[in-house]
Symmetry: C2
Subunit: 211 residues, 2 copies
């Protein structure tokens, strides 16, 4: 069975978390870390860490731990973070503007190169040095900028149209901030970002935990 079919979404998410832990350890000049160390930093079990890392070979040696630099490099490569990706953003409202300025994308090699909005008052104006383009020119600009990933940050009622536009322009990966399930062809990957999920786990804790 190929690697990618064995890794669950939850595992991929944890690999992103482990990568932060390793980078932080590397900055502190730590050379090797144990599964217990990674586990404690991420508030999960060491068994889970060992299981996740076993998917892509034997990086750790019992009693010696994982080499920080080797593991960092391997996870980066697996996640496709050892290169840059050109990104289009459709919907330059509040969240769109925040995302254009978000360091957390650029730091990882996700470069927003193309902004699209259907508001005539916005088209032609600039945000962070990028000119907002009309949806009707999308296909042209997707090709010119070799866009690999589309971020959708339009209101819910416009999200499907935005997804159709991205797919039409040849894009196969969509990060959707609109609170709606998108219908896309099978060969297109969609990730749903929902900023309410994390705050709901806080209200769960406040409601149920007695401390």
């Amino acid at each position: 069975m190929a690697l990618e079919t064995r890794l669950s979404d939850a595992t991929i998410r944890r690999l992103s978390m482990y990568l932060r832990t390793l980078e932080s350890a590397h900055q502190q000049r730590i050379r090797t870390v144990s599964s217990q160390y990674i586990a404690a930093e991420n508030k999960i079990t060491a068994a889970q860490v060992r299981k996740d890392l076993s998917y892509f070979g034997a990086f750790g040696r019992r009693g010696l731990g994982y080499n920080v630099l080797t593991l960092m490099t391997s996870i980066s490569k697996l996640l496709g973070l050892n290169r840059t990706w050109n990104v289009a953003l459709i919907g330059v409202g509040n969240i769109g503007r925040a995302l254009v300025a978000y360091e957390g994308f650029r730091n990882r090699g996700f470069n927003i190169k193309l902004l699209i909005d259907n508001d005539p008052d916005k088209i032609g104006t600039k945000v962070n040095g990028l000119t907002i383009q009309s949806p009707k020119d999308a296909e042209l600009f997707y090709k010119e900028f070799e866009i690999a990933i589309t971020i959708i940050s339009v209101p819910a009622h416009s999200a499907q149209a935005a997804a159709d536009l991205a797919v039409q322009a040849g894009c196969r990966a969509i990060l959707n901030f609109a609170p709606v399930t998108l219908q896309v062809p099978q060969n297109v990957f969609v990730r749903q970002e929902n900023m309410a999920y994390e705050i709901e786990s806080l209200s769960f804790f406040l409601t149920n935990k007695k401390m």
Copy 2:
């Protein structure tokens, strides 16, 4: 064992997802749904759905499925979404402004009531009808507005100071958008929001999937 100690973070997150599925079904006037239906909508297995829902009693009856309204109400209540929560936001930059305007919080009963920033040029100005307050008045305003949850949307180097401020003001739940691990007392809950995680799973798919 108490309910809350049996539910993992991943389960709580899935309950938030199921709630969306049930609400969408309810809007379409669907009265009962199967575990297969919930599973397909969220791209996970029906066994996982049944396991998650088994945690809080037998809502489903074999062959009949789950009553949409009953399950919706139960999950809402468990997640603490059958009431409102007053929220403070520290750091009124790009992301902060986007969050103040974010419908996804208000719709769920999370009401941002207090804005705090340490920039003298921002203090006293208004965003979405709310006056930005100085950190030195935080404790007073936390009490006046009965703040339950703090959103931290400051740069990484200021995040720990923001968390200390919230804890000092008596807040026990923090949603952190800054890319840094916060140190807080054991009775304070912290959730880390990282918008890069989802986009990294897209680059993983683009890198590894052959379609």
